[in-house]
């Protein structure tokens, strides 16, 4: 797993600098794809763009990947794994669900705000890419549903929330993040943190408590 880990990445609008990318060829190809795709869009990117950005030969590309799509999928998985790890680390010490939501959301938004290219890759390009990639995006987002559904235990009322609550909340926030990134405002994603967390928590802990938690400095 460590071999596939991009590690902590420096902020940068124009992709990865050579020194900061791991020596491992696969990682360089993945990093090369990420920067090429965010610059040109998935469809327009050629193998030449990727190998040039990665500073490896085409032969080396084919040693690792069969196609642009396969490379994209690998890049997507690496970033997703990294985000999952960040979230797990952020929530691990926290006992109560609402504060776990705060910490997890902060971790995700901070990461993408500091890595606008990866925000573009994950939140924008992955939706338009080949069906296998956009399906993977859907699956990754669906992973959030059970995490949110835990919030149902926080409710003391007798009326259950609609079944689609988690999906509609998540979908709304994916859409909001998407709009920010396509407006080239990925760096401001963490400004959305209070609104995001208030929106997520509201159905589960009530509007007033959600607002209080979202705007607390805890």
């Amino acid at each position: 797993m460590a071999d596939d880990d991009l590690g902590p990445l420096p902020p940068g609008r124009h992709g990865f600098t050579r020194e900061q990318v791991a020596h491992h060829q696969r990682e360089r190809l993945i990093a090369g794809l990420a920067s090429a795709v965010t610059e040109r869009g998935y469809d327009a990117v050629t193998l030449g763009d990727i190998t040039k950005a990665a500073q490896v030969s085409r032969r080396v590309f084919y040693e690792h990947f069969k196609s642009k799509e396969e490379c994209f999928l690998a890049a997507f998985e690496v970033v997703l794994d990294h985000v999952r790890r960040l979230v797990a680390e952020a929530v691990e010490p926290i006992p109560d669900w609402p504060h776990r939501v705060l910490a997890g959301t902060r971790a995700v938004l901070s990461f993408f705000a500091s890595e606008p290219d990866l925000a573009c890759l994950c939140l924008v390009e992955s939706r338009g890419a080949p069906p296998e990639v956009s399906a993977r995006f859907g699956e990754a987002v669906a992973e959030l549903v059970p995490l949110l559904a835990k919030g149902r235990a926080e409710r003391d009322g007798t009326r259950p929330l609609p079944d689609s609550t988690e999906e509609s909340v998540i979908g709304a926030l994916v859409s909001l993040a998407y709009q920010k990134v396509t407006a080239s405002e990925a760096e401001q994603l963490d400004d959305l943190l209070p609104d995001f967390t208030e929106f997520i928590l509201s159905p589960y802990v009530g509007a007033d408590e959600a607002s209080r938690l979202a705007h607390s400095t805890a």
Binding site: G171, S175, L192, F199
Partner: protein, 195 residues
């Protein structure tokens, strides 16, 4: 147009070729190229037509409804969801596949969705809580509604889309009138709009 939407819905935008389109529409290549320089421009034109039509129908339903804002939103969403059920291939082509049809299609898709946001804005007047609702709230809510529709389209459950009406209404109303009122209104209004 609906023939092309069917092709795109079935095969995906990428795998739909001009050859398939002309064969399906029973026109010659010359006719195609007289109207469109390429597949992307053709798709964008169709997307524009479909979007205009749906937006017009939804707005008309909203305007025609005399009741309070919640009634108007229910009428609008009833039509929107109904359109997806009535024309699942078009819904699939223009909501789902549009994201794979190039950057301009993606941009137009986003803009199209956000045409519905102003219909929700008047809900702010109903908000009794002393809080400042985020500027992005309406866009966010619209995003959530379309995400739910997309999930059903992707799962091949287009026929279930209208059944989402009560949950969608509750979702939309909640930020403005609070949970209990939202649930009550949603239930009543959805019952009045049974497909």
């Amino acid at each position: 147009m609906s023939a092309t939407a069917e092709l795109v819905a079935e095969h995906g935008y990428r795998d739909t070729t001009i050859e398939m389109i002309v064969r399906n529409a029973k026109v010659g290549y010359a006719t195609f190229y007289r109207n469109y320089p390429d597949k992307e421009k053709c798709f964008l034109a169709l997307l524009e037509v479909a979007t205009e039509r749906t937006a017009r129908l939804v707005k008309a339903a909203y305007d025609a409804e005399d009741g309070p804002w919640t009634d108007k939103v229910a009428a609008a969403l009833d039509v929107l969801l109904g359109e997806a059920v009535a024309h699942p291939a078009a819904a699939r082509a223009f909501l789902v596949e549009a994201l794979t049809a190039g950057p301009e299609a993606v941009e137009r898709h986003e803009t199209a969705l956000q045409r519905f946001a102003p219909l929700l804005r008047p809900g702010r007047e109903l908000c009794s809580r002393d809080v400042e609702l985020p500027e992005t709230l309406e866009n966010t809510l619209v995003g959530g509604v379309f995400w739910l529709v997309n999930l059903r389209l992707l799962a091949g459950e287009a026929s279930e889309i209208h059944a989402l009406l009560p949950e969608v209404l509750e979702f939309v109303f909640r930020s403005y009138v609070g949970e209990d009122e939202a649930a009550r209104e949603a239930r009543e209004l959805a019952a009045a709009h049974v497909g």
